[in-house]
Symmetry: C3
Subunit: 406 residues, 3 copies
């Protein structure tokens, strides 16, 4: 614990601030807010998470023990908040986001404590604690904040050419450092290397599947940037629990392919249904990138844990499943622990999101009106006088904004 | 020394080339020069710094000893040059910049030698040697190069939407890797981890303070990208000296909040005064990001050093304050050393900047005329025929440039 | 082997996915394809390379041994494929690229096996195996795919202002992490540090030479972004073989300067000749960045190996030249091995490129027509309705695309 090196932390840090921040810059007029609010709420969440996680499992003699590991864990908790941010992107004020972060961090720490310390589940890369929790919490919040007249801002809920390229910066940094993410708190040596490799193979296979599915589901065989930016990452999400286990490269690739397929299908067919039937307006499609692949990862983790044998793991068993290695429980019971953990995570996320959603509806937090969603200029001094490169277009935008405000 | 790992170096390297380079791309028509001249003068400065720093404190038997540590130190010296570049950005030719870099690197090495080797000061993250030195040197240079008719280029001294997003790439990479920067040459183990953590908490708290102050000082509560891009980093600057010391997370956060507040207030109120009253045209506001926070960091370092006790530091005292640990001097005297070091740094920076400023005024170095500042096309082949994306606007720009040249 | 740390891998990974991906976004209408196809073929190539390289030199008892080192080697092989991609950029369908990657990875593994395992050559940073091989393979492919009527797409074969800035993200990340790249598979400790330092000095000197040559070869002294984006990296290519050897900082800088000079001269004078006389349409100028500097690096490596003495290398000789250290062969014979390796590499690359080029001509792989090269919209859903920032321009583009398709 004390001798963990800072390099893994720096890779995770890049994912949180560059990865999530730029991934959400795909919206044409919401780049400042995407990267800027990501910066704000991440800075807040990691401080608050240090306190909350410290309170639940870092206390030593009445003091919170901090170190590289606590910094990584705080970044992990922040990741869950940023996933939820993706669900409500463009429809919430910074004050709402900070309030959401405050509650979500607290609930994250409670859920993490129940899973890891009470139930004895394993979840090194956070398929459950981070992705499933963050996604379903955010989806429930956006459900409660449902806006029937969001169509008024529909024309801004899309990308432009360069905003998609900025988003690819986020995607690629997330993709590249995911092996570090999933292995950041695993045991040094073989355990960590195995986690990094499983994640790497899952991501590579998922990327291939994503390109294939994106072309197959389009009417003219063209690729959709939304799929590439998001679904190609689902392989990392789905390897979050089992990545540490003996998933094998071949198993990892199967998991990655499955994750890519369900993620693209989700964007194509499920997102419109969620919005129309269930009134869930999921701006970034976090259900497809984090929700379903997170649940898949949890299930893969439970199955992989249940079939673990000392023959396969050798003395590595003590690193991955200490209770099984010590003979305290059988492997199949570890699988049950994992399954219960998924159910607990879903329950806390959905219930928590419900309550926090209603809190965020309080008018005091200043949500933007339906006609002015996905728009930077209500929160930021947006440049763009007539001498600017894109002067005329910005002028049009400003005029439109003013019109909407009246 | 010999066994320092290359990872810390790579993180610092990213800050120098991506961090500083893209931070300065905020100007609408100076992106090529910002990232391109940053690349040029950093490549030059790190080679020259290897020689100069080697001459002053890396000589072993008549030869300069090089290694990972000398590469980190050369990058640190380069950082100071790039800070000064920020003060004169858009108003200097590449030849002027190279001449400035040559003199500044030399003076940096002398100042660093006086502080670390003669005065026995501690400054692991360079609040004094890098930030205070680089800022006040650059401010004095830009004072000497004062242009009364710079208003002729005023319309280009601002950002456009996408240039602000490019700048955020620089900001975020600087922010993320700052813990590695401040801890890059500290002693391995506890010392390094403490430095990284203090920097991290200072930055997180500074970011919160920056957002708060930016909204508070605006007439309509809107956030200003200039503040976010710059002031949010002041917490790293201010933790440059004391980060290595027992600042504690709580102390680091107070330092970060103070740094964020003075930085935003500086941008809002001091920069216009500096320009009007003192004739200091500070393009990037380096006084707010590096100057004042650097001085704050130096003072915090002096105070923290003066109150150091073996009770608190334990055997870590030998790493941080070897002369105090050996009983050679008392802690309060170490504080005096730190304070003298700040004064020496300011003196050398201001005097050096004065002399170098006058050297740069020599007409042979080809400064751009007042009407053509902040403009790439005088140094670069700028793309943009009618088939380009932003064709019409570029055509306008080219026409304007030609008009100005006649 | 088993104890290699994952940090070097992550740096190489960034070069492959961000470095190569964004370097090629310089084209005005091909950014999605540049970064997106780079993502696709790299994800494919690293999986296929794991199998192919494992088959040739990673087999242990009938199983392929994987680990951090195999991940780095797979990324290296992927680098060669991406270099070839640069030669055919904008003129090939994704299916063609995947087919090319499949054959090229196989040939890469064969060539690598011949050089390193049969001939006993040293090539830690891949001047021969990666750069020379990738460049001449790609150049031969593009020669076979020669399009006499490519002028129809000429207006899109250029950059716009922001696309050049995106490309600089790629350039700078490649430049910064090149010391990690060249030293990623060298022996830990002194050997690795020496390689990183030689590469760093070569790159810094190369950058200076590139700026100088770019200004000198322009008719008005202006810098050309194409040179900065590419030629400044030639110093890393040219240090790929000898970087591990006792090249000394001074020697590295000479190599870097030479690489920068020949690269800029290549862009300026050789590329037009290659296209007109030899019918080689080299979109990214890989001959100037990887081809000639790769050959230079191979020659420098052969000469440096031939003059190696135990006096200079000490016990490091066993790490760099094990066969010379064991007395099995003389140093001059190692030099001969290196020279033969260059010849073998050129032979396999050119012959392989010839055959694969003809395979790619099969109409089933769907190459774009001459009038629609360098264009994203035939493979991607490109955003851009009238409410977009650059709406009007995109509308023009779409109209033009449709016209061309009819």
């Amino acid at each position: 614990m004390g001798n963990r090196s800072p390099e893994g932390f720096q890779d995770v840090h890049v994912m949180i601030f560059i990865g999530f921040g730029f991934l959400m810059t795909f919206l044409q007029r919401y780049g400042f807010s995407s990267v800027g609010f990501n910066f704000l709420i991440a800075s807040f969440a990691l401080q608050w998470a240090t306190l909350m996680q410290g309170f639940f499992h870092g206390m030593h003699g009445g003091k919170i023990h901090i170190g590289v590991e606590s910094m990584i864990n705080a970044d992990f908790c922040t990741g869950a908040v940023l996933i939820s941010f993706g669900a409500v992107l463009g429809k919430t004020s910074p004050i709402q986001l900070l309030v959401m972060a405050m509650f979500e961090v607290t609930l994250f720490a409670i859920n993490e404590f129940i899973l890891l310390s009470i139930l004895g589940a394993k979840d090194a890369g956070g398929s459950m604690t981070i992705h499933t929790f963050g996604a379903y919490f955010g989806l429930m919040v956006t459900r409660v904040l449902y806006r029937p007249n969001l169509d008024k801002s529909k024309h801004r809920n899309s990308s432009v050419y360069h905003s998609d390229l900025f988003a690819m910066i986020g995607t690629i940094f997330l993709w590249m450092y995911w092996p570090s993410f999933n292995s950041a708190v695993t045991a040094h040596g073989d355990d960590q290397h195995r986690t990094a490799m499983n994640t790497y193979y899952s991501l590579a296979a998922c990327t291939m599947a994503t390109y294939g599915m994106s072309a197959l589901t389009a009417h003219d065989g063209k690729l959709d940037m939304v799929h590439i930016q998001n679904a190609a990452l689902a392989g990392g999400v789905a390897a979050g629990t089992a990545g540490e286990m003996m998933l094998t490269p071949y198993g990892s690739m199967i998991v990655g392919v499955l994750a890519g397929i369900i993620s693209v299908l989700g964007f194509k067919f499920l997102t419109p249904i969620l919005e129309e039937k269930l009134k869930v307006q999921d701006t970034c499609g976090v259900h497809n990138l984090h929700g379903m692949p997170g649940v898949l990862g949890a299930i893969v983790g439970a199955v992989t844990a249940a079939v673990a044998t000392t023959d396969v793991y050798g003395k590595g068993m003590a690193d991955v499943f200490p209770d099984v290695a010590s003979g305290e429980i059988g492997a199949s019971y570890q699988g049950v622990r994992q399954a219960i953990s998924l159910a607990v995570t879903l329950g806390i996320a959905l219930l928590g999101g419900l309550i926090v959603g209603f809190i965020l509806k309080l008018p005091v937090f200043g949500a933007p009106s339906d006609a002015i969603c996905y728009e930077d200029s209500i929160y930021w001094e947006v440049p763009g006088e007539e001498e600017a490169h894109d002067g005329q277009l910005t002028a049009v935008r400003t005029a439109e904004t003013e019109k909407l405000n009246n």
